[in-house]
Symmetry: C2
Subunit: 405 residues, 2 copies
């Protein structure tokens, strides 16, 4: 059943009745006049579409539906399957980056005991697209993956980044060495304990992916801890909505200064999407700068801040790992806080790190598991999307998909 | 006058009475036990500070104030000038990236006629720190600067980016060529007109700075237009708050697809800071993907979207420039929309572009005009901030500072 109703389109799909407004249909018209066959980009501006557009006729043509618009008699051909796949409904319009598309965890869910630690061997990651897809999917879904057997050689962390995206170069260089320095410009370059934090909160845009590759471990200490900031934020909201509200609405100034650098950014410690869902955490006490808000807001903030810091610091929230030479952690720096224990200088602990971004990582995963949501004109010789570059990702039971492309 | 009151500190500074809570003072204590002299980073976590902290004594010591806390008798020494400069009050805590720290413009304010077009010659930019500071300040304040006399040689756009920050490499490479291609993967690589838009809306984080360097102009057409998206957004809010509200709360899906890329991001067309101030615009019709919201939200969005597109497309909002070989535009891709007219293929118009980020640009400017907000311990031999690398920026009358470091 297909008909036009209230100026839009109604379509039966199985036992569902789908409804689409005329303007939505027209804006997504897949004809070669409206959509560039080469790039898949729209050729008409929104203001090119006539005002007062309605669907004046809808014709059932088997697998396709022909929609005619008034006043200009343009015709769009949609496949039923595309319309069914793009049904309007209670979707939230988010893009896979909020709490709703993540698998939130406590270490008890993931630890080596339960065997669900997301890890992959680097040789297999390189050789098998499915292994690559599993590893990258873990970064989106769980916030991190541990790659094993990455040769402990200087610079290889850049190869890991290049396997899924692009290095975000910063004032620390394309890569940085995390080891004890005689005159450290950052506490990372000492042997001190560092509590859970996200990196570079004084940057905007903040690097959204961080890599840490172990070249040499400490004799004693220097263990790595990971905390799921999204899991902690949702727990805080459930337990103490008032504290959560203070944190999401208070911009906190962060800064970093050295002889050639003066970085500043102010953002809340918990960032929400426009629909009010947790979309980022930013937590780094050592780089926080003086708050400049009214007195009452300052005292309210500090009470909330301490509560949040205590929650993030709870041992049961911290997954403890001991990176061995050849281990490379890849993690979502907008979600996962990382920490390290103090260590003995004698072992000459040496990590190399670099930054990258989630958008490139998600793109690489989406190409590996190809499938896009472009309206497809019913024609041959398409320039995109018709040659999957790898077998589809094997299903993983009980785990929600984090990528929603 | 100095005293402790209600557990905090009161301090007379000129005719103002400043008040600071104990926790704020302690968290900003500049002593070597609390703040690392080398890095300026905090050495105490927020949870290291005793609960129930109060100021138990405040002592006037001329230029300094000594604050003693209970219960643990720690003592902080602050200079009066630092406390006065960091007075709490009705500040909004933002970091210079919202509408409040920008000079919003219409072309009539800036055009060649009035002589206020922000431009600088590249040789002078390289030679004179003050010229560099003026140019970078214009990007933060007005959203763009036009650099002249950048030799029209391939790759030089990367030198321009390196002069203030770091290139954001993407699937388009470190730099991209904007010229007519036989099989364009993006409409940018045709000779078509392109209406005002921001670049890469399908990326998150989006590149916050864009550079376009003209190597060769078109025989006819190919003119560049710039629109101040923040000025347009505030005008929309004033004229039609309901439309503005729809735009700030509706995440819009954007996408880009080619054989090796599947980028997706959903963000509202107007992004607000947590305090509700305009902090970003994202507008690119040709890369928009199907909205998946409920029917009523879709129709409300399209009405708002058309209104917004019409406002952005008004000729009186568009600053028209004709880039000549050697011109290099540097602009804020979170604020300024850019457009181009159609052009004749015969002239073999050729631009080179690249992306970078505002945080690095702002850092470079802040170093040029050195001045930080770290609490300064009253001691010698500081490792940071004591050697301004250039003369202070000359004042520009009637123009608000966009950098608030």
């Amino acid at each position: 059943m297909v008909n036009c109703s209230n100026g839009g389109l109604e379509l039966a799909a199985g036992d569902r009745l789908l409804r689409f407004p005329a303007i939505w249909l027209r804006d997504n018209c897949p004809c070669a006049e409206c959509l560039d066959p080469g790039s898949g980009q729209k050729l008409k501006d929104i203001t090119d579409i006539p005002n007062g557009l309605v669907v004046s006729a809808a014709e059932d043509a088997g697998e396709s539906v022909l929609v005619t618009y008034a006043p200009d008699r343009h015709v769009s051909t949609f496949t039923r399957s595309w319309l069914a796949a793009h049904a309007l409904g209670p979707a939230d319009g988010e893009d896979g980056r909020t709490e709703d598309d993540k698998e939130l965890w406590l270490p008890a869910d993931l630890g080596p005991v339960t065997g669900r630690l997301p890890e992959e061997s680097w040789p297999r990651y390189l050789a098998e697209p499915a292994a690559r897809a599993r590893a990258l999917g873990a970064v989106l879904r769980l916030g991190f993956v541990l790659l094993r057997d990455v040769p402990p050689e200087a610079g290889l962390v850049l190869d890991v980044a290049a396997s899924f995206g692009f290095v975000r170069e910063t004032n620390y260089g394309r890569l940085f060495d995390v080891r004890v320095e005689p005159r450290p410009g950052n506490l990372a370059y000492t042997c001190r304990q560092i509590l859970p934090h996200t990196d570079n909160p004084y940057r905007d845009p903040v690097p959204t992916v961080q890599l840490l590759h172990c070249l040499r471990a400490a004799d004693q200490g220097g263990d790595t801890g990971l905390v799921d900031g999204f899991a902690a934020a949702t727990a805080l909201r459930a337990a103490d909505a008032r504290t959560f509200d203070v944190l999401v609405r208070t911009p906190v100034p962060f800064g970093y200064t050295d002889s050639g650098t003066e970085l500043r950014a102010s953002q809340p410690l918990i960032q929400l999407s426009p629909r009010g869902r947790v979309r980022g955490v930013r937590f780094n006490h050592r780089s926080a700068r003086p708050l400049r808000l009214p007195y009452a807001e300052v005292t309210a903030f500090y009470a909330a801040y301490r509560r949040w810091a205590e929650l993030l610091g709870r041992p049961e929230r911290q997954l403890n790992l001991r990176l061995a030479p050849g281990d490379c952690l890849v993690f979502d720096n907008t979600r996962i806080l990382h920490a390290r224990t103090a260590f003995a200088v004698t072992g000459r602990r040496h990590l190399q790190g670099c930054y990258a971004d989630l958008d490139g990582l998600a793109s690489t995963l989406a190409v590996l598991t190809r499938g896009d949501d472009l309206p497809r004109p019913p024609r041959e010789g398409m320039a995109r999307g018709d040659e999957p570059s790898s077998p589809p990702r094997p299903p993983r039971e009980g785990i929600r998909r984090a990528d929603r492309s």
